[in-house]
Amino acid sequence: MKTLVKIALSAALIASLSNAGEQFAMSDADRAMYAEMLESNPADMNIAHGGELLEKNCGGSAGLAKFLHVSQKDLPNYIAGFPRYLKDFNMVVGIDQVLQAAMHENGKKPFTLQSKDMFEMSAYVKSLANDVPINIDINANQQMKDAYALGEKTFNTNRGKRGLSCLSCHSTDVIGSVLRTQPLPALGANGNASVGTWPAYRMTKSSMSTLQHRMQGCMQNALLEVIPLGSPEMVGMEVYLGHQAKGAKMAIPGLKR
């Protein structure tokens, strides 16, 4: 089942990479590498290590479920609804921030959000929800409504030395066009459901990256000032994109160009 979802998503990616015409298509060598990595995603190693880190620092999935006040059985479903507003934090938080607090509660020094350990541990936790449809609820409370609105605003704000916004390259009217050999991906459920496919292995970077880190990459490339991981604006964009991908199944780790 898990592999089925992955293959479906990957077929969409391959199609998007070859549909755009010869000049823009993925090279045969890239395609071969991609096919090979589909068999065994290098990020599976990172996720396995993330599982060990969760065990050591948060008491495994049982410890995490307890910390989140949910049963272990409900945990995957609950994870597929992040970012969430949590009373214990009095704000909308991502999984990685939850893990920081859980580590603190367990007497450990929290990993920083940008550390490789945090990428791996949070990727493992998200993978617990694999095959579960994304079920984020932006109407759950005022805080979620606000986070969604902030995310949408951040996504649509033109800024930086080239005056671009995320929308400049990710609005429905440009999706599928090509930006210097790279087809512009649809981020919602009808595309690759970004929120359900990150953390992902990036072939061009030879490493696993998270959704927020990927967004920082776009900011850097397009000359927007990079905003920090875990900021309400970043979490808000995750809420915004999560809502667009709602219903798509979690399939982590993803595999990206």
């Binding site: 214990d88 704000m91 920081q100 951040t154 390259c169 930006l179 210097r180 309400p232």
Partner: protein, 174 residues
Amino acid sequence: MKKGLTSTLLLGISLFAADYSSVIESPNASKIIEKDLLAPAKVFTMPDGCITTDPKAIARGKYIFHNLNGEDSKGPLPEGLSQVDEKGKPKQYGNCVACHNIEEAKGAGNIGPDLTKYHENMMATKVRDNQFVYQKISDARIDNPTTHMTINQTTGLFTPREICDIASYIVSPK
């Protein structure tokens, strides 16, 4: 009565529930974004002698069109163009080819219109004039408020002369 009860409950929660807001990272990005905002659309008028057939100006315009920045650029640097900015960082070029096809483009994008044969199709036919091209590159929003194109002079990315070089390249017969 009911209201009183609710606020007691709320108070109870805030008193007894854990507050993790201080142990997690949640930096505020609003200041970063505020400083980085795009200014309103602005009209620009071509300076005297802007559009030229000077091969050196056209070479600079071409280089800016086809390259991303001074670190990641190909071919010999044309006379009068720097690879670094005033701060010594790699100078940003236009990377116009990311969105536009044009003569000799390698790996061009198609988000923006194809600018091939621009002289024949747009200039010779008087569909466009020099001022239009100058304004479009400087601030495309004057012509199209919801444009997906980059804003190049309002943001201070390029000087008027640099915009003139790029425009001279686009409108020149190739």
